[in-house]
């Protein structure tokens, strides 16, 4: 175990990105406290200032762990398997539990190091007064540590199942964010009701660190319209989190053996060579059969775009149809919820949730598709082949962008039925819906351009994906955190500025989502999104040009 632990921990520490993350954490947390430090020797006896500082500190700590930690365990096992070193580990005397423990503790040690860099800031918050060192700061660190443990356990499990590091990173971030945020949704929908579903939803909520952290900083019930309500559930979270992490650890250790390599090569079965009966059944089941022999790429389509669709596991048309159908069902269910069970939410709130659903899809899906557009080619040797073809650079660049743009437009189009139902219920909302949709489209363009531009500077897809996710999470969640703490500590001007950085605030504002209606964010939010989009596209184009020209 010790050699694995040492290699894992030192391997992370040797990475320049990890060092940058540690430094960034130390600087950011120091600054957070400094801006809230009492000026001119005046001490706030009520403790409101220190509580405000503690609130910002806690939110940043949770956000930092959610963004930083999952990337390391996610690629840990799958990268070793692809490089062949995992087989060497299996042939060493270290048992699977030792390999797992080494990897787990290595990443945990790094997470601990990140938390240590925040201790001076925590001490400063305590020195400001009004915050209990054990019941608040101590428990906050315990909650964050358990969330880090859970993230590592999720990452390592995903890493044993994934086939590539970038896929593992995508799935891990998706699952960690699902645990942190989506686990709150069932409780929000069943709130006020009793029965089995309400009990299950309540226990599911215990897996999210969000209500616990909000309670510890004294904001339980103040944020999210009561979604993060009164009952803290700190101990339930600690028990549930550690319990789930233990279950995931056992599941991962059971998979850590030679079966990981016992996978035969795909024989490349093709439907065209099978019986008529099989062909008919497959056509009915799939609509677009992925195992059908494809016709050649027609002259009017960009070959790069077609290649991008075909090389994505979920880029094949049958998967896109399933994704679109899933989105349509979710949007209709949400609208149905508005008209039946939760009428008190109002059409505007449902509209706001639809906007959030769309933006969440954009932020989760776009980086996974766009961050590796160039990086994956460079990583796998495809770029030198593309350079040797007669395809001009602009066709390579646009083919890659359009492959993501079409996918995202299809996904967004699938959520439109929800809006249609809304405008049928309340026809006066037509203009609001139109403005919200323009904002969402701008969000797609901005996210796509930004992801492609950032990803183009990387040579590894996993690193590109992590960087893009971190940037986008800060960009989209940051303003919402600022909005959540509107009034104290953030003033009106700061909240307005933060919300105008992305089109999300503008969309929520025009659709009439409670809490956002007082902000006039159009056209400033559109202009900022347009400027970011254009600047990112220019950077992306320049980088593609630079990579294509002779060295």
């Amino acid at each position: 175990m010790i050699p694995v632990l040492r290699r894992e921990f030192l391997g992370i520490l040797r990475s320049p990105r990890a060092l940058a993350a540690l430094l960034a954490a130390a600087v950011a947390f120091s600054l957070l406290v400094l801006v809230r430090w009492p000026a001119g020797g005046i001490v706030d006896l009520s403790g409101a200032g220190s509580r405000g500082a503690f609130l910002v500190f806690a939110a940043a700590l949770l956000g930092g762990v959610l963004l930083l930690v999952p990337a390391f365990p996610a690629s840990s096992i799958v990268r070793e398997r692809n490089q062949g070193t995992l087989l060497l580990l299996f042939n060493s005397p270290i048992p699977p539990i030792g390999i797992y423990a080494g990897k787990f503790l290595g990443v945990l040690a790094f997470a601990g190091l990140v938390l240590c860099t925040t201790l001076p800031a925590a001490a400063a918050v305590y020195a400001m007064g009004g915050v209990d060192p054990w019941r608040q700061i101590g428990l906050l660190y315990a909650v964050i540590l358990v969330m880090a443990i859970l993230s590592i356990a999720i990452g390592l499990l995903v890493s044993t199942r994934a086939t590539s590091p970038d896929a593992a990173v995508r799935v891990t971030y998706g699952m960690v964010f699902a645990v942190a945020f989506l686990t709150l949704c069932p409780h929000a929908l069943t709130r006020g009701t009793t029965g089995l579903s309400a009990t299950i939803a309540d226990w599911l909520r215990r897996l999210s660190p969000l209500p616990v952290v909000m309670h510890l900083v004294g904001q339980g019930g103040a944020v999210g319209g009561g979604l993060l309500e009164k009952d803290s559930g700190v101990w339930q979270f600690l028990v549930c989190g550690l319990g789930l992490a233990a279950v995931l650890a056992v599941a991962t250790i059971l998979q850590l053996d030679h079966r990981l390599f016992d996978r035969s090569r795909d024989a490349g079965k093709i439907t065209d060579d099978q019986s008529l009966w099989v062909r008919i059944v497959r056509r009915l089941v799939f609509l677009v059969d992925p195992q059908r022999r494809k016709a050649g790429i027609p002259f009017y389509l960009n070959p790069i775009m077609v290649k991008e669709f075909r090389t994505r596991r979920f880029g094949r048309f049958h998967w896109l149809l399933r994704l679109a159908a899933g989105c349509a069902v979710v949007s209709l269910l949400m609208t149905l919820a508005a008209t039946n069970g939760t009428m008190d939410w109002g059409v505007e709130t449902i509209g706001g949730l639809l906007v959030i659903l769309q933006i969440a899809l954009v932020v989760l899906l776009t980086p996974s598709l766009a961050a590796g557009l160039i990086a994956s080619e460079r990583e796998r040797g495809g770029w030198s082949l593309l350079r040797s073809t007669t395809l001009p650079g602009w066709r390579i660049a646009t083919g890659k962008l359009t492959s993501v743009a079409w996918t995202m437009l299809l996904v967004l189009a699938a959520t439109l039925p929800g809006y249609l139902v809304m405008t049928t219920i309340k026809p006066t909302m037509w203009n609001q819906v139109m403005l919200a949709l323009v904002s969402v489209l701008l969000a797609v363009a901005m996210t796509l351009a930004l992801s492609a531009a950032i990803g183009a500077f990387h040579t590894r897809t996993a690193a590109a994906t992590v960087t893009v996710y971190v940037v986008l999470m800060i960009l989209y969640l940051g303003p919402l955190v600022v909005w959540a703490f509107r009034g104290d500590p953030f003033g009106e001007q700061v909240v307005r500025f933060a919300l105008s950085i992305t089109p999300l605030g503008a969309a929520l504002s025009v659709i009439g989502m409670p809490g956002f209606t007082q902000y006039e964010l159009i056209p400033i939010a559109w202009k900022i999104a347009g400027a970011i989009c254009v600047a990112s596209l220019i950077v992306y184009a320049l980088q593609v040009w630079r990579l294509l020209r002779p060295e």
């Binding site: 490349g268 494809k294 050649g296 002259f299 075909r310 495809g382 082949l385 040797s388």
Partner: protein
């Protein structure tokens, strides 16, 4: 239009510097249509730099390189049509079948859909890969991938093929198949530049060989020419009927040779043979044989040891290696 005897590849005084480091130093060579050039050298010798300049992926610091009259710097667009390049990494795409993979590269070269389908059939036939057209690219074995890599370079029917380590990592059977494939391509009139570390393979297929070390061309020509240039001395073996006469035979050979050649005479009692290097003519060697027979030494064979590419390569690299 070039005359058939005109060089299809003409490299003149090609130099590439990265700051102070000279990766390629005044390289000049020419290659005629249909020839196979074995481009060999140790790691970091400048082979890949040369190849990258030829395919237009790198600019030389000075000098010129033309392929079928097209300049590798000024006519980079024409070069892409004239050259089929197979790098040492395959460049696989996930979830793509072989036929889709070739279709993509055919479309990237602007081949119309109808002609493309026909061309894919042809290159699959040429490389003997038709049976794997429905396989997923990432699921292919290394040997299969190399075949598909060659098929990919043939799609746009280039005049010249540049193959970087095509036999690397192949098993003996696949190596033989790859060798036959390269000979078949040369037979089709293609000009080939092949780099490889498996020198016996190269020596069997190459018309000309270029040996490069530390960015400099050390030897260029047919294998025979190179051997003549590199080694003035030839190696001979005298096989005796038994070990008892080995020392006597060795002494007789030493007596017949010049002073400077005597140290090179080695007696191998266990193998019952005497081996020596000499620059003497065939007539003088006949006299040595006659002397041995005159001494009643039972000689069963008196033979010259043929030199191969490996000897040439080692000879050049040892000569140019920095003193330690």
């Amino acid at each position: 239009m070039n005359a058939p005897t005109d060089p299809v590849l003409d490299i003149r005084n090609l130099t590439k510097k990265f700051g102070e480091f000279t990766a390629l130093d005044n390289l000049s060579l020419a290659l005629r249509r249909g020839q196979i050039l074995g481009f060999i050298g140790p790691n970091g010798a400048g082979k890949t730099t040369t190849i990258k300049i030829l395919v237009g992926a790198m600019r030389p610091t000075s000098g010129t390189a033309t392929i079928a009259g097209a300049d590798c710097v000024r006519d980079a667009w024409r070069i892409k049509r004239l050259v089929g390049y197979m790098p040492d990494t395959f460049g696989a795409y996930d979830n793509m079948r072989v036929r889709e993979y070739l279709d993509f590269f055919g479309a990237a070269f602007g081949i119309p859909r109808g002609a493309r389908a026909k061309r894919i059939d042809e290159v699959l036939e040429t490389t003997g890969s038709g049976w794997m057209q429905d396989r997923y690219v990432e699921a292919l074995s290394h040997g299969m991938k190399q075949r598909i890599g060659v098929a990919r370079t043939l799609l746009h029917d280039p005049e010249m093929l540049i193959l970087d380590e095509p036999a690397n990592g192949l098993d003996p059977q696949a190596r033989i198949e790859m060798r036959d494939l390269l000979l078949k391509l040369a037979g089709m009139g293609k000009t080939l530049i092949v780099t490889s570390h498996i020198l016996p393979e190269l020596s069997r297929i190459c018309d000309v060989v270029a040996i490069i070390t530390q960015g400099k061309l050390r030897a260029f020509g047919t294998l025979d020419q190179i051997m003549r240039d590199l080694r003035q001395k030839r190696t001979f073996e005298i096989q005796l009927c038994g070990p008892a006469q080995v020392e006597g035979a060795a002494a007789a050979v030493r007596e017949a040779l010049h002073q400077d050649e005597r140290e090179g005479v080695k007696a191998h009692a266990t193998e019952s043979l005497v081996r020596f290097d000499t620059a003497r003519s065939d007539t003088e060697l006949a006299a040595i044989l006659a002397a041995l027979v005159g001494l009643k030494i039972d000689v069963s064979q008196f033979r010259e040891i043929p030199k191969d590419l490996e000897d040439a390569f080692l000879s050049v690299t040892r000569r140019e290696a920095p003193a330690t």
